[in-house]
Symmetry: C2
Subunit: 226 residues, 2 copies
């Protein structure tokens, strides 16, 4: 368990916190869903997005766009979507996996679903469609390249939030309906909302982060190689 | 321009380098495609993958798998795929965008295409298909959630490589044909190879990293809001 850093609006202090050793930021990163409704200094959110822009994009396309939501109107729309999707997937998750860890995660997600309107800042990470070659055959890796141009950036936001002491979590279910999400955020049809990063100062301590051991997921030369 | 760190096999030194301030690792991260053919200490690659496992996955599914390739056989297969895809996409890129920056990137990718067999380490980041609910309607965000469970981890690898001083670049074109890539790596049909992280000690200095200004990609409350 790690004690959270106290909330701050001081941008010099924010820069100091961003100098956390890389490995410490990674090892202590985790989804923090239980957060306070108190506002987050907008300059901090802007700084996190700026750090997001340091990540790579396919062919350096930089087709990323970020919508920062703090207004109750669009939040309520996303919250309704989240609840609808949760009714289907949450119940399913509970039936599929009954281990302690899953139960703990589902409980924490349930809290987030119930309190979604109170999340002070939602950053919607979007991709503007690049100049996709329309006449060429699209290989299976096209989707991977597409999302591979936003999630490294999202991870920068999450690591930056961790260093600053902000609670952060990454969710996609509030975007269950692309049409509804686009309308709520005024996004053009060419802009693909991919995920929502919820930000706020954390309630309580940081919990543990169970992980599969590295040798279970590392294959040498070919599948199963050790 | 930043002078690269000297190559090292010393794991204590590696840990010291991984303590680089988070913000410095992010700001100086960039794709390094021109790398030496010299081997990279396997324990360093393992450590980078271990840091990858600190990233988030959807519902903590942890359905990530990493194949570390150093053998000439599978490298040659991926290199051939890369060349074939490059013939189509590289030429297209050159016709679509003619600015200096694109020309520089394309030149660097061309170097990589020509020297791909010499890349000392390729980490193929894969996703094992989770228990996708087969009877439920799959929303548009399903693909985003899928790839959102590997690219945060990939970004950890890239940031870790940067801190250690290893050149790293993220490519998908060598996986142009999923069937060929699966066969070369012995992957079961349920495993989706998403991208290749090329690792090696860099040749020369780190170049600049041009980025769109943050206010161009940041929208307040809704699209176009400022």
């Amino acid at each position: 368990m790690t004690e959270p850093l106290p909330p701050t609006d001081d941008l010099d202090e924010v820069e100091r916190r961003l100098r956390m050793p890389l490995v410490d930021a990674m090892v202590t990163q985790r989804s923090i869903r239980r957060i306070l409704p108190d506002p987050v200094e907008p300059a901090i959110v802007r700084r996190l997005i700026e750090l997001g822009l340091e990540g790579p994009t396919g062919s350096n396309g930089q087709n990323w766009e970020f919508v920062v939501v703090t207004d109750p109107g669009p939040k309520a729309v996303l919250a309704k979507q989240y609840r609808r999707a949760w009714k289907i997937y949450g119940g399913l998750g509970q039936r599929l996996r009954k281990d302690d860890q899953t139960t703990r995660i589902l409980k924490s997600v349930k809290w987030q679903v119930d309190h979604f309107e109170e999340v002070p800042v939602m950053v919607v990470a979007c991709l503007k469609n690049g100049p996709r070659p329309p006449v060429l055959p699209v290989p299976a890796i096209a989707d991977s390249s597409h999302y591979g141009s936003i999630y490294p950036s999202v991870q920068n936001l999450l690591l930056g939030a961790r260093a600053i002491g902000l609670g952060a979590s990454l969710v996609t279910l509030p975007l269950w309906s692309g049409i509804v999400a686009r309308r709520a955020l005024g996004l053009p049809a060419s802009v693909d909302p991919t995920s929502v990063i919820c930000l706020g100062w954390p309630i309580g301590k940081y919990g543990p982060k169970p992980r599969r051991p590295v040798d279970e997921v590392l294959h040498l030369e070919r599948w199963g190689g050790s």
